[in-house]
Symmetry: C2
Subunit: 356 residues, 2 copies
DNA sequence: TTGCTTTACGAAACCGCTTTCGGTTAGCGT
DNA sequence: ACGCTAACCGAAAGCGGTTTCGTAAAGCAA
C-alpha cells in the first residue's frame, strides 16, 4: 500500500519496457506477445497500478462521466427520490465504470451556468436533468451545446429529446375514475405551480377525467399551492371552506397529500370516510401516515437505471428521440379512499360555518 | 453557441498570442500587460472558452474533486438524508468549484475496490464516507492510502481521523431521562445491528441512562432488529409479548419508530398514552405519522456543509484530528411521548394474552 | 543464402493546459 | 550615446496517459 500513485512511466521502468508498450499490453492490443502481456499485468497489480483518469480521459478525449443536476430543493420534506435515482444511475454507469457527478445549483441562472461550464469544460459527456418546466431553458441550452442528455420527466413538446416519465395524465384519470366509481361526484384537485410540466399533466388528467365522467369541472375545486405538505394543508383548508366542499381530493404528490390529511383531521373529519384523498408518488412512508395514504404509485427504482442506460446509448450515437419511455402509475389503495359515505358530516360542518 | 469546445490553442491563434501567454493572462499572472489581459478575457468569453478540466487537473496535479460513498441501501424507506447531505457537500465544494463524485457500491468488497481505484487513479482528492462500522475497514484503507477523508459518524477509536457526528449516547440519555421524568420506569430499547457504531453508541446511552436513574437494565427490553420500519415492528411485537411489557420505547431511528407505532396501534393501543415512543433523527415526515412522532432531532442541514469544509481543510494540509465535530440532538416533542398513564390497558392486554 | 512477411516492441506525436525559463523591447538614468 | 533594469511575451518542458508509425529481429519460403 504505497502512498504515492505509481505512474505508467515507473511501471515501465520497473519492467524495462517503454510506456507505450506497457499501455498497449494493459489495454489488450494484439501486437503484444502473450508472455510480456502476462508479465506486465502481473507487475501492474502487484504494484497496484491504476491509470490516472485525468490523463487517460484527456488522451482518449472522453470524460467518461455524466452529470446529474439535483432538483433545486424546496427545503420541505427532503426528496426521497434523489437517493433512489442516484443509485439507479450509479448502477447503469458502473457497468462501464463511468463516473457520476452531481451538481446542486442554487438558482436558475446558476444552473444554466453550471450546465454550460460542465459541458464546455469537457467534464461530462452527458447530463440528466429532472422536473422540467413547461418551457425549460435547460433543454434548449443542452440542445444548442449538442450535449447528450436525458430528462426525468418531460415537457409538452418532447418529441426531439430523450426522457423517462410516468404518465401523470393517465394516473389522474385512473384516480378520478376510481373515486367516481366510489360514488364521488365532487372531487377536488390540489396541484403545484403550473410552470412545472408534471403539474400541468396531472391537472390535464384530472380535467379530462372529470369531463369523461359526465361531470363539469368546477374551477373552485382546483387549488394550486406550494409544492409541500404545508401547501397541501393550505389548499385543503381553502377547499373545505367552500360553500359546497368536495367529497374527495386528488393531490399532485404524496407530500401535499400528507398536508391535506392534516387539514382534514384538524377539522375533526376522517380521511377515507368523510373525505377521500389520493396522493401521487407511492412513497413508502405513506404506510405510516394517518390514515395510511392511498396513492398513485410509480415504479421508482426503475427510473435511475433506465435513465442511465438511455443516456449511455445516446452518447454512443443513438437518436435521442428513440429513447422515450412512459411508465404508468398504478393505484395503491391504502386507507384514505372510500365510498361516498353519508355526506352529512362535512356538509353539516360547512353549513354550520355558513350560518355563523 | 458552438458545438465543439474551443481549446486554448485556437483561442491563442485567434488572438495571435501563444497558448502560454493566454493561459497566464486568464489565470491572473502578473507578467501580463493589463491591455492584453483585457483583450484575452474579452475574447475568451466571447468565444465561450472553458478550460478543459481533465487537461487542467492533469497539469496542476489536483483532481479538484471529492467522492461521496453512498451508504449501501437497506431498500427500506429511502434515505432522506442523502439528498440533504449531498446538497450541503455541494455547497461547500462549490465555493472552490470542486466537483462531487458519488459512488454507489454494491457489496463491501465492491466498496473497498471502489475506494482503492478512485484514490489511486487520481480521480478524487478526498472522500467522505458515512455510517462507519465498529471496526470499519474503509477507514484503515483510506489511512493506508494516505487519502484525505472525513466520516459522517464515528467509530469507537476515532482519535486520529476527522468526523462529524451527533452524540447518540447523549441523545439517548436525554430521551430516557425525559421518559423517566414522565414516570416511566420500564423503557425498552429498539436498536439496529451492533456492527454499526451508531447503534452501539445509542445503546450505550440507553444503558447508562437507565442505570443513572437508579433502575436496572432488563436485557429483555433490548431488542435488536433489522434497520427498517419492519424491523421496528417486529421488535415491538416482541416487547409487547413480554410478561411485563415496557411502558415506553426508545428507537434507534425514526424509521424503526414508525414500525413501532404500527405494532402498537395494531394491538389497539395508543402510542403516546398507552405506550410512549421516541424516535431518533428528527425526520420531517414524523409530523405526519400516527400519531406525530416524538423524536431526538439532529441539525440535518448542517452536516453536509461541515463535512465538506472539513474535508477541504484537511486536503489543504490540516491535521485531521483537529476536525472532529460532535453535535447534540435535541428532544422534539410531538405526540408519542406522554406520562405514565394508568398502566392498566397494556397490562390487561398482556395478562389477557397470558391467560389464553 | 536471399528476400519477404510477421511478430513484438521502441519512438514519438499528441490530448489541452500549466508553469518555468529566456529573451526581446521599452523605459529609465547618466 | 550607452548600459541596466523592468515589463511582457514566446518557447518549451512537463502532467500521464493513448495511439500511430517505424523498425529490428525472427520466421518462412524459395
Amino acid at each position: 500500500m504505497s502512498a504515492k500513485p505509481i505512474s505508467l512511466k515507473i511501471l515501465a521502468a520497473h519492467l524495462d519496457l517503454t510506456v507505450g508498450t506497457v499501455s498497449r499490453a494493459l489495454n489488450g492490443y494484439a501486437d503484444i506477445s502473450p508472455v510480456t502481456r502476462k508479465r506486465v499485468k502481473r507487475a501492474a497489480d502487484e504494484l497496484g497500478y491504476r491509470a490516472n483518469q485525468n490523463a487517460r480521459r484527456l488522451s482518449i478525449g472522453n470524460p467518461e462521466t455524466v452529470g446529474y443536476l439535483m432538483p433545486r430543493v424546496s427545503s420541505s420534506i427532503a426528496q426521497p427520490f434523489v437517493a433512489q435515482l442516484l443509485q439507479g444511475l450509479g448502477e447503469a454507469l458502473s457497468k462501464r465504470s463511468w463516473d457520476l457527478l452531481v451538481v446542486q445549483p442554487n438558482s436558475s441562472k446558476d444552473e444554466m451556468a453550471h450546465i454550460e461550464r460542465m459541458v464546455r469544460s469537457g467534464r461530462v459527456g452527458g447530463l440528466v436533468i429532472s422536473r422540467p418546466l413547461k418551457n425549460d431553458p435547460r433543454i434548449r441550452l443542452l440542445q444548442d451545446l449538442k450535449c447528450p442528455f436525458v430528462v426525468h420527466g418531460r415537457t409538452a413538446s418532447c418529441a426531439d429529446y430523450a426522457w423517462y416519465d410516468v404518465d401523470g395524465d393517465d394516473a389522474f384519470v385512473t384516480a378520478v375514475n376510481h373515486l367516481v366509481s366510489l360514488g364521488h361526484s365532487r372531487t377536488a384537485f390540489i396541484g403545484a405551480p403550473l410552470q412545472h410540466q408534471f403539474a400541468q399533466d396531472r391537472l390535464n388528467g384530472y380535467r379530462s377525467a372529470v369531463q369523461e365522467n359526465g361531470l363539469v369541472v368546477d374551477e373552485d375545486l382546483i387549488q394550486i399551492a406550494d409544492f409541500s405538505d404545508d401547501g397541501g394543508e393550505v389548499a385543503t383548508n381553502m377547499l373545505l371552506d367552500l360553500p359546497v366542499p368536495p367529497t374527495a381530493i386528488v393531490c399532485v404528490s404524496d407530500t401535499m397529500a400528507l398536508g391535506a390529511l392534516a387539514a382534514i383531521r384538524s377539522r375533526g373529519l376522517l380521511p377515507g370516510v368523510d373525505i377521500s384523498v389520493i396522493g401521487y408518488d407511492g412513497l413508502k412512508f405513506g404506510i405510516h401516515s394517518n390514515p395510511p395514504l392511498t396513492t398513485m404509485a410509480q415504479p421508482q427504482a426503475h427510473a435511475g437505471r433506465r435513465l442511465g442506460d438511455m443516456l449511455l446509448a445516446i452518447i454512443d450515437g443513438d437518436d435521442p428521440s428513440k429513447h422515450q419511455e412512459l411508465q404508468r402509475a398504478h393505484l395503491l389503495r391504502r386507507k384514505t379512499d372510500g365510498p361516498l359515505h353519508n355526506a352529512t358530516v362535512q356538509t353539516n360542518v360547512s353549513i354550520r360555518e355558513e350560518i355563523l
